[in-house]
């Protein structure tokens, strides 16, 4: 495996241990940032922003969160939909209880609330593992959805049980509520995604990430070499839930505007996020993003291709979409069980052998 490009010499530890030690990678990173921050906002249409980019940015955060828990710490969770709901409802309660609070603070605080809830639901992970833990988190999913449906306090006793985001502004731009504009929302989501992704990347490279990975690879061995499983597992649950909660708050406040828990945060969402990280690549931040892009964009592209370009009836296209996405998932899992991130790594290596051998 190629870890270092030939010809890159580092003279200090600091330079050697940076996030992107290879110059080409660093260039790629900054180019993608440039494209995301400048080129896309200038060129994207309202439809593509609403249908692809915003959901991608929001689910990208959730995928990173779940990847921290499942990919890095090895704890399978099917409760992401429920944790997203916690984020959304916390954000709603904060927004309505403190109308003057900045929306960004609301979103971050709802992440904090979700982290706390995630911590509580993470406690069983100390005793149970694998499939059994998956079932316990599944219980969290159903319990949380039931709770938000049942207790009127969470939706301020509105007649329909829906929560609706009131209007909030950030730097003078309306980003939630009826008059929200797409572009400011895009920048808020993008900014948060980049910020959280950088933090996640650094967390996973540091001591904490190494502890998580030790637990993932073999928890008994990790315990013997001095990793505290209680701390490692609970921090993974808390940080993962923080990410997922922020994603839920953004999905509700910035993207959907009105949410009904049974539909927006159902078990389907948990599976969607799980598929993102499985397809993208477990234990990879880049993989989380690629997986999110794949799962969000693929159905929209297929729909546009089949219905708009080829003029097929919508229902046939919708059925075909299920089959094609399902087939692609299976094909990917058979051909590249480690996800798109691994595929990308292999492509890079092959390219490096030929034609870019220097």
């Amino acid at each position: 495996m190629f870890y270092r490009e030939a010809g890159e010499f580092k003279t200090s530890y600091r330079a050697d241990q940076q996030t992107f030690p290879i110059g080409l990678d660093k260039l790629g990173f900054y180019t993608s940032l440039l494209i995301a921050f400048v080129v896309i906002p200038l060129t994207m249409s309202e439809y593509w922003a609403q249908a692809v980019f915003l959901p991608f940015l929001i689910f990208g955060i959730a995928a990173i969160g779940l990847n921290i828990l499942t990919g890095y710490c090895g704890q399978v969770s099917l409760g992401s939909g429920g944790f997203m709901a916690v984020g959304a409802y916390a954000c709603y309660k904060l927004m309505t209880a403190f109308p003057d609070m900045n929306i960004l603070i609301c979103v971050l605080l709802s992440g904090g609330v979700t982290a706390f809830v995630g911590l509580i639901f993470g406690l069983p992970s100390l005793r149970i593992k694998g499939f059994y833990l998956a079932v316990a988190t599944l219980a969290a999913q159903f319990f949380l959805v039931w709770l938000f449906n049942k207790v009127g306090w969470f939706y301020n006793y509105s007649a329909s049980g829906q929560i609706t985001a009131p209007e909030r502004t950030l730097f003078g731009y309306v980003i939630t509520g009826a008059k929200a504009e797409t572009l400011p929302i895009y920048f808020v989501c993008l900014g948060l995604l980049v910020f959280l992704a950088v933090i996640a990347r650094n967390l996973t490279r540091g001591a904490m990430g190494r502890k998580w990975m030790a637990i993932r690879d073999m928890d008994i061995a990790a315990e013997i070499i001095g990793v505290n499983p209680l701390m490692a597992k609970l921090t993974a649950f808390a940080i993962s839930s923080f990410y997922v909660g922020i994603s839920g708050a953004l999905l509700f406040a910035l993207y959907l505007g009105a949410v009904e828990v049974g539909e927006a945060f159902s078990i389907q969402k948990s599976f969607l996020i799980l598929f993102m990280i499985i397809i993208g690549g477990l234990g990879s931040i880049f993989g989380s993003l690629v997986g999110a892009a794949f799962m969000i964009a693929m159905p929209v592209i297929l729909k546009n291709l089949l219905v708009t370009s080829l003029g097929w009836p919508g229902d046939i296209a919708a059925h075909l979409e299920f089959m094609i996405v399902g087939l692609m998932i299976i094909v990917f899992l058979i051909l590249e069980p480690h996800g798109l991130a691994m595929l990308w790594r292999i492509i890079k290596e092959k390219l490096r052998i030929w034609p870019f051998s220097h």
Binding site: A159, S160, G177, W344
Partner: protein, 428 residues
């Protein structure tokens, strides 16, 4: 990140917007797939067949051809939003989201974009207050009219006294199903009946525990706010516990052929509310046959013609077409805009003479819309299923509902919305 950008570059080629055409564009957010397809297909077929007929027979409305743009939502709000974004640039005149969840989602968006929404008999009930919701219409009747109509029907059966009776509400655990609860609670205080709430989670295929509870508690009446596959499961379960079908009353969304036929003879006597007459016994269907069915232009598989929900879809299209006529008259041009359409909808008057002209005598009650009242008159009838003849028939007239209770709730809920969203109630 790199891959994403490569993909994006590839898509920008695909996403060239379709040019705006000079047609009357009606986006249809349909769901022909998923757990709600059984209810979605007939409605979508009726909606688009009526417009096809107008195009074939009259060349559109006022000489302006109609274009129906279908977009599949699977009854999913996120897909609904995607469909809205996709179609709003085509010059959409009015949105019929055909889903309460999507309606809630679109109310702020469409109001900001200035495109009217017609959520006919569903959606946000308090949108009946046109001063707070200028772009949203829910005529001819809303869920609270429905709740009141159920209670009125039960009152009628019991000679006006239902004190101490037990009524259970089996509802889809969503914004849609929860809408009637507040009204039913008010009415329960007013008339002294006990209300039991039995939520059924999406998609509604699993209702054993709810019906077990009904078997145990034996409520005198059961009413249902169901949709899609939930309806047929509920009727089947009611049959399984031998619940007397004539005491089981569904909302107008829980009373179509597709809901009762799976239960066979056991569904005989099941009741549902009605916004319009059932069946194909109208002269209009001759035109439909001549211009649409015989030419093979029917939408979908063409096997839903004349069912309750097909007629509902047609009714939606008729009301939209009539509003276009009003708008064309008021603006003096055939090619109207969404803003003119909104004015047309707000000044819509429908009477029996108009229904006779359309070839639908006595199809539905009179209706008049105004800025104060986007909800119409709220006249609701009751229909009953005859399993032997496999037909629905109206068992009551279109009767008024308890507007004292409903108007108070509408004012309360809409002013709460206005306050939350800083809207000053006024007529546009």
């Amino acid at each position: 990140m790199k891959l994403r950008n490569a993909l994006i570059a590839a898509f920008t080629g695909v996403c060239v917007a379709t040019p705006v055409l000079a047609d009357l564009v009606f986006p249809a957010l349909t769901y022909r797939t998923g757990a709600y397809a059984v209810s979605g297909i007939p409605q979508a077929d009726g909606y688009s067949d009526y417009f096809t007929m107008l195009n074939e027979r009259d060349g559109g409305i006022g000489g302006e051809p109609i274009k129906v743009v279908e977009c599949e939502t699977q009854y999913n709000t996120e897909k609904g939003v995607e469909c809205y974004e996709k179609t709003k640039g085509l010059g959409a005149l009015v949105y019929q989201p055909m889903s309460t969840g999507i309606t809630y989602q679109l109310i702020p968006k469409a109001s900001a974009d200035g495109i009217p929404i017609h959520s006919m008999g569903y959606g946000r009930t308090s949108a009946a207050n046109g001063k707070v919701f200028p772009y949203v219409f829910n005529y001819p009747a809303n869920y609270w009219n429905g709740a009141s109509a159920v209670v009125n029907h039960i009152l009628e059966l019991n000679g006006g006294n239902i004190k101490g009776k037990k009524i259970a509400l089996v509802y889809h655990n969503s914004g849609y199903g929860k809408e009637p609860i507040r009204t039913l609670e008010e009415l329960s205080a007013k008339h002294g009946f006990d209300l039991t709430l039995l939520p059924v989670d999406h998609p509604g295929q699993e209702q054993k525990s709810q019906w077990l509870q009904i078997r145990r508690e034996r409520p005198d009446y059961v009413t249902m706010w169901g949709w899609g596959v939930m309806n047929q499961v509920a009727i089947q379960e009611a049959a399984n516990i031998r619940y007397p079908m004539e005491n089981f009353i569904g909302i107008w969304w829980s009373g179509s052929e597709n809901d009762v036929i799976p239960a066979g003879d056991a569904a005989d006597g099941y009741k549902a509310l009605a916004l319009h007459a059932p069946g194909m016994d109208f002269p209009l269907f001759d035109d439909m046959k001549k211009h649409v069915y015989d030419k093979g232009m029917a939408a979908g598989a063409g096997d839903q013609i004349g069912t309750i929900l097909y007629n509902r879809g047609m009714f939606q299209a008729i009301l939209a077409a009539e509003a276009v006529k009003v708008a064309q008259k008021m603006s003096g041009k055939a090619d109207i805009t969404a803003a003119e359409m909104r004015v047309g909808m707000e000044n819509l008057k429908v009477d029996q003479a108009m229904f006779s002209n359309l070839g639908l005598p006595n199809f539905a009650p009179n209706l008049s819309v105004s800025c104060d009242n986007h909800g119409g008159a709220g006249l609701v009838a009751v229909q009953q299923w005859d399993a032997k003849a496999k037909t629905w028939s109206l068992v009551s007239d279109f009767k008024p509902t308890d507007m004292d209770v409903i108007n108070k709730l509408i004012t309360e809920d809409s002013s709460a919305y206005a306050k939350e969203n800083n809207i000053t109630p006024k007529c546009l």
